[in-house]
């Protein structure tokens, strides 16, 4: 299946993603920030679909938007943030921080532009990506080449789970 109107959807989705990103870091209310982040995540899922990565897009939706963000919203509702809304939102070094971040971004773009691979990036040298069996291929990678990494990741999740329970529980 060939994606249609690629240019339009790319600009739409990346615009939404960036808009969401800006809202995340500027909103006073944490719930609004979280909702903006969800917008970004969904837009990114759309971009993944356009990049022939349907499985990653699905995981993005089900895990990020459906799981992690619900956790965020849950915690925001649990801790009462009304007081923090009235306080100063940005710390004292916000000018330096912003400048440093922007400089990093410019550096990145410069690296892309100056690199010898740029013609490659622009010319769209496309690898043979099996679109119809994307999930199957990823599965083969996950349970083949990256078996050990996969196990480590599951261990990491276990550790994180125990850690979260230990820290969030009132009394153990």
């Amino acid at each position: 299946m060939q994606p249609v109107a690629t240019t339009f959807f790319f600009y739409l989705l990346s615009g939404l993603a960036l808009l969401g990103g800006v809202l995340v870091i500027t909103r006073k209310n944490a719930v609004h920030s979280a909702l903006a982040l969800i917008l970004t995540l969904l837009a990114l899922a759309g971009l993944y679909l356009m990049l022939y990565a349907p499985f990653v897009a699905g995981v993005q939706i089900i895990l990020y938007a459906g799981g992690i963000m619900v956790l965020f919203l849950f915690v925001i509702m649990l801790v009462n943030l009304e007081r923090s809304q009235k306080e100063e939102q940005f710390n004292k070094q916000w000018v330096i921080g912003t400048v440093a971040a922007v400089v990093t971004g410019i550096l990145f773009v410069l690296v892309f532009v100056k690199s010898k691979e740029l013609p490659n990036l622009v010319r769209e040298h496309v690898a043979q990506l099996p679109e119809q069996s994307n999930t199957q291929q990823i599965a083969v990678f996950l349970y083949g080449n990256y078996m050990f990494t996969f196990e480590i990741a599951s261990l990491l999740l276990l550790v994180a789970m125990i850690g979260a329970v230990v820290m969030a529980k009132k009394r153990i």
Partner: protein, 383 residues
């Protein structure tokens, strides 16, 4: 004048430092709420879903029944008592009539007493049916409500045929009954009993072994017999806690001494036991009515009492076993045609006091179950 807002003592209380403060919610359940059976307002202090404390705010249905009594003659006040526990109006009337009869030192004739027993027990069944339907509805089973209302209709039809009213019946008069039983009364009652006996099994089939029902009611709202006695809780709530106390047996009134019946009791004092006790009580009521219909004597239905009631100076306390518990009337007479003071001991009001003890530390959903199982009627709580 500035309207004053009610501040609950729960809001004034010290904050518990061990909890996240945001976890503590004060929520108002009622006075407009689907599960508070009228206009009860319960202020709940919650930690997440757990109940830390409750406070009942009552009085939204207060009509000053006791004060009204002081300005009415004894006979005129009789219909007012029906408006207290409006789902068990017959029992209310029975208690009042007997109290005044005691004060006057007259006794209702045996036939009147039998009619009284039949109607009062029918009313007990009706009241329990209403309780079952609404209780199940609160816990989330919506179907039993319609079944019980279908069957309760038959009782109300008998009431209507007997005295012309379905709910606030005003069935009895001081000194006996005003109406002789209508043609075919016994037949109607017998027909109802035969119709109703399998229906109890139907209700039980829906609920008694239903796993969700059992899980929702077992060890919910536990109260021990000792605590019941300390609070003055009576009726099925007390009996479910294992205390064998039923005024029909302990101090028989009307014609109850003539009948064979048992007092169903529970052991655990939880919501499930209260459910079982009330179901058993319905069966016992059927038994009593059967005996009463079979042995109803002939004779007058009204004792000889003066046209104008002027009880001698004195005071009397008389209580009966209403469907919800001990319903008592304390009447003080100064020798005039009107009571000097009349005080009602409403079972719902007293039983409601147990709510806080029963739900503390349990979940919000249990508050609903416990309010249902206490079987309160706000008309009686507020009077």
């Amino acid at each position: 004048m500035k309207p004053t807002t009610y501040i609950s003592r729960l809001e004034l209380g010290e904050k518990d430092e061990t909890f996240l403060d945001s976890n503590e919610l004060i929520i108002n359940m009622g006075p407009q709420h689907p599960a508070t059976h009228g206009v009860l307002r319960v202020i709940l202090k919650l930690d997440g879903e757990k109940v830390l404390g409750t406070e009942c705010v009552i009085g939204y249905l207060h009509r000053g029944v006791e004060k009204i009594a002081e300005n009415r003659t004894y006979a005129m006040f009789n219909p007012y008592v029906d408006r207290m526990d409006y789902v068990a109006a017959v029992s209310n009337g029975l208690g009042y009539c007997e109290a005044v009869e005691k004060l006057l030192n007259v006794e209702a004739p045996p036939r009147a007493n039998y009619i009284r027993v039949i109607l009062a027990e029918l009313n007990r069944i009706a009241s329990h049916q209403l309780w079952l339907g609404t209780h199940a509805l609160d816990i989330g089973a919506i179907t039993p409500l319609f079944y019980t209302f279908r069957d309760r209709e038959e009782i109300l039809k008998i009431f209507e045929k007997y005295c012309g009213a379905r709910l606030t019946t005003h069935a009895f008069r001081i000194g006996g009954c005003q109406y002789e039983t209508y043609e075919g009364f016994e037949k109607d009652v017998k027909k109802f009993l035969n119709f109703f006996k399998p229906k109890i099994d139907e209700y039980e089939e829906l609920l008694t072994t239903n796993r969700i029902w059992v899980e929702r009611t077992k060890s919910v709202g536990v109260i021990s017999g000792k605590e019941c006695r300390a609070l003055g809780v009576t009726g099925p709530v007390l009996r479910a806690s294992g205390v064998r106390w039923d005024i029909r047996k302990a101090q028989p009134y009307a014609a109850y001494s003539d009948f064979q019946f048992e007092i169903p009791t529970g052991q655990n004092g939880d919501t499930y036991d209260r459910y079982l006790v009330r179901m058993a009580e319905m069966r016992q009521s059927v038994r009593i009515i059967e005996q009463a219909v079979a042995g109803i004597p002939e004779g007058p239905i009204m004792a000889k009492i003066p046209k104008v009631l002027k009880p001698p100076v004195g005071e009397i306390y008389h209580s009966i076993e209403a469907p919800k518990g001990e319903l008592g009337y304390f009447v003080v007479s100064d020798g005039s045609t009107q009571p000097y003071r009349l005080r009602v001991r409403p079972p719902s009001f007293v039983n409601l006091q147990a709510l806080d003890m029963m739900v503390r530390g349990q979940l919000v959903a249990d508050v609903i179950a416990v309010i249902g199982t206490l079987d309160i009627v706000l008309g009686e709580v507020d009077r």
